[in-house]
Amino acid sequence: MTKSQPALQRRKPGGVLAVRARTAVWFLVPALLIIVLVAGYPLFKTISYSFTNASLVDPSIAENIGIGNYWYKTDDGQIGGILVDPKWWQSVGNTVLFAVASVFLEFVFGLGIAYVLNMKFPGQSLMRTAMLVPWAIPTVVSAQMWYFMYNDTFGLIGQGMGAGAVLADSSKVIWAIIAVDVWKTTPFMALLLLAGMQGISADIYEAANVDGASKWTQFWRITLPLLKPTAMIALIFRTLDALRVFDVMAVMLGTNKAAETSMTAFARRSMIDYQNLGEGSGVSVLIFLIILAITILYVTTLRVRFD
């Protein structure tokens, strides 16, 4: 019995536990298979379409045109393609402005609200409940509610507060939409930051009090540094989310104007409304690469860990 044991272990490294692990890994197969089918394969197809002149009408008769959707030069020296399309770069610029501004404001407001809600006061749980309301509202519904408030002849903000036709004013429209997004997602940010704050031990603050540190110093020297891991992850999630903005723009601006301020709306218009499957796929691939690059930048420069 004792002699045969090493031989048995060599055949099955790790013994019983490893065998069980190998069985259990099969539990992953359905999830991974579906992910490959619903994400991997369509992504591969989108990339392939981006090198063709496929039309939405009949994608099967597409011709391979190499990088023609991205960049091309005609015989008489004219240059074209998405990469040199100023409208596309305008859309990218506006989306990045939208993402940076709204995530920054959400973070500042979220931090403030989380700090206030972390104090003890009567009605605290009621406030935390109120915070979930904007978060629970569907984006399309909140977009309609704000669209109505922005109306310049009868809306609460447009007429009542005298803001005027903010959605028709090209210098204000992006900020009007940032305001909607900030309102909708600040609670999410506040919730995450509040959870992070509650994880900070009260002993540290007591020690700081004994040392005579002011509340202000405590916030900058204790709360913020200890909140950093939570804050980083919240910021990444929100940035990536903001970069793929579509709903609020599509509802408040309509197909054509949304394409000027949202990369996703630009891609969708080209692909679905103009039925230009090849070019629209090219735009989608660029969006994918832009978001990938930003993610890598975030994760490597800020050394974020997800486990």
């Binding site: 259990a24 539990f27 999830a31 579906i34 379409y49 979930l132 569907p138 109505f148 709903d247 996703t264």
Partner: protein, 290 residues
């Protein structure tokens, strides 16, 4: 002792700064509450006002009598019921499938050690943060080829792209929290991994399943891009609300839109309030603990 006590009383009653501070704090709380609730409250008020008064501006609208007409009109609009039905079918379908598949995956990822686990976790996280537009054209042609365009089944399939990674990620963080002793006891009795999962792990996962399912349901219920692209007649609720057409083609039927918006939002808010604790823990474990 007595000296100290009188000292404290003097502090709280005489110091005016304390009073000012608490007044300022209350004002701050009211401002925050107003900011968070006002747009929604405004929508609620609008939904109870006559359609004609709405076009006369906020002041006249507030003065107008209250009415239930807008709700009656929404209930008389067949597109609204169809939207509710489609949204329910699609969201429930995607969530149930994701929970079934997700429980198995989460058990393997949460309780077993194997080569490549970290990579799989990162791939799943990456898919959940993925821009949906990157798969739109590929998915569109797949759904067309499968003859599932305008079919709830096609939309359910497309929603798995975000409901499955989300469910796996959140459920895994819950499974990790389950004490190993439970599982070890089952192993001693010679239970297979499948038996352990069904008889030991699953019974303690009720709250986790509710939380994950609810959050995934809200995500699916609110989804707009795929719903707009893969359905034409069988619209879901967000598409119905975004394209609500009233009796007149030229006037946006704001009163009806607000009533319909409130009707589809109130159930979500009620659910969120009931499961408040689960939701907060689910959101934070999904995003923060990782």
């Amino acid at each position: 002792m007595t000296i100290q006590r009188t000292d404290q009383v003097v502090k709280t009653t005489v110091r005016p700064t304390v009073v000012i501070q608490s007044v300022l704090f209350t004002v701050l709380l009211l401002v925050i509450a107003a900011y968070l609730l006002l747009p929604f409250v405004w929508g609620v008020i609008t939904s109870f006002k006559p359609a004609s008064a709405i076009f006369e501006g906020p002041a006249k609208m507030m003065a107008a009598p209250w009415t239930l007409d807008n709700y009656a009109q929404v209930f008389a609009y067949p597109g609204f019921y169809k939207g509710l039905l489609n949204s329910t079918i699609v969201s429930l379908g995607a969530v149930l499938l994701s929970l079934v598949v997700g429980v198995f995956a989460a058990y393997a990822l949460g309780k077993y050690k194997f080569y490549g686990k970290t990579v799989i976790m990162y791939v799943i996280l990456a898919v959940s943060m993925f821009p949906q537009i990157a798969v739109l054209s590929g998915l569109y042609t797949m759904i067309q080829q499968a003859k599932l365009y305008d079919n709830p089944l096609g939309l359910i399939f497309s929603y798995l792209i975000f409901t499955i990674p989300f469910s796996v990620w959140v459920l895994t963080s819950f499974v990790r929290e389950i004490p190993n002793e439970l599982e070890e006891a089952a192993m001693m009795d010679g239970a297979t991994p499948l038996q352990t999962l069904i008889q030991v792990i699953l019974p303690v996962m009720g709250p986790a399943l509710v939380t994950t399912g609810l959050l995934a349901f809200i995500n699916a219920w609110n989804e707009y891009l795929f719903a707009l692209t893969f359905m034409s007649q069988n619209r879901t609720i967000p598409v119905v609300i975004a394209n609500y057409s009233g009796s007149s083609q030229y006037e946006t039927p704001w009163a009806n839109i607000m009533a319909a918006s409130i009707l589809v939002t109130v159930p979500l808010i009620v659910l969120v309030l009931i499961f408040q604790k689960n939701i907060v823990s689910g959101l934070t474990s999904g995003a923060v603990k990782g």
